[in-house]
Symmetry: C2
DNA sequence: TGACCGGGTGGAGGAGATCGACCGCCGGAT
DNA sequence: ATCCGGCGGTCGATCTCCTCCACCCGGTCA
């Protein structure tokens, strides 16, 4: 992937509804060319989708927390992600190195709802939990900056324009 | 906010590029009505924006980590978020309860880049860091489910601007 | 009851998305 | 060196969709 694709991805990460016309203006390509590239990026999975960014306070889920989990039985099969997938309050699940095995990011309506969710997590996945409550979020979902990134040796120098 | 708005937000959170026409079909309203509601949701800040979801492996940032930070001087002013904002590798910054004061989510190209980033974090904000490396991400950015949510008693049925 | 107001419908105009046809560059094979 | 094929670009046509406008309906309050 080279410069222009990177540019497109950056722009779309910043504004997922940007029109192809604007994208074309920003990149100096024609609308069709941009359209083609975006479709290719989507097909290749570089762009996995588009989402509205939501104010969780406003939609009644003002409480965010990180829940680290550790299996109670270290010998049991490690299928926690599937076991927990049905819990809609879980926004993300990361497998991590370190003392615990996964970190979950959860959004709930209240401390009571958090307590209930933790119970569901423990019983669903047979794990112990350690919870870190988020007090506030200065920023989140910042778009990646993928400028620079020196071309790898295998990358053919596609210099144009 | 009532049922239909909730529906719209859910749909847009799942597919940020859904057309107003489709949104109208899903909600049973006219295109104009949906358009109006979405604009209102945007203006009120319920919908804060739209973003493309990106495959970080594909764009050369395959290493994700959580960095917990703690001030070295507990008496110093707590302006870590602003001091760190210029570091583009930081995707999110959450103020948290517990032993540490903030949790950062970072995306970098390599272990070497992570090391360098940690140095920048420490010197920029005068903090100590504790890093948890993400091995894999079973899921992330799942759309919130905001069905149900019984109206709170304090919620007046007629919202004024 | 009558005026007001938030929120709905429908239509018109123009902008934008999408697709096909054509072209030019580059690398590999003859 | 020339031919050939694929990739990626432009241009242009068409159709969808966005966006704005005027109008309408049902509640609320004086």
């Amino acid at each position: 992937m080279e410069e222009i694709d990177r540019r497109i991805v950056t722009l779309l990460a910043r504004d997922g509804r940007m029109s192809f016309t604007d994208l074309a203006r920003e990149t100096g390509l024609s609308v069709s060319a941009v359209h083609q590239r975006v479709r290719r990026l989507e097909k290749r999975g570089v762009v996995r989708g588009y989402a509205a960014l939501v104010d969780y306070d406003a939609i009644g889920l003002p409480l965010t927390a990180f829940v680290s989990i550790k299996p109670i039985d270290p010998a049991a099969a490690d299928d926690a992600p599937e076991r927990l997938a049905h819990l809609g309050a879980i926004e993300a699940c990361h497998s991590v190195a370190g003392d615990e095995s996964y970190i979950l990011k959860v959004r709930v309506a209240s401390p009571l709802a958090l307590e209930e969710l933790l119970n569901q997590i423990r019983t669903s996945a047979n794990v112990s939990t350690r919870t870190t409550v988020v007090l506030s979020t200065p920023y989140e979902h910042r778009a990646p900056e993928l400028i620079g990134e020196p071309d790898e040796p295998g990358d053919k120098p596609r210099e144009k324009a």
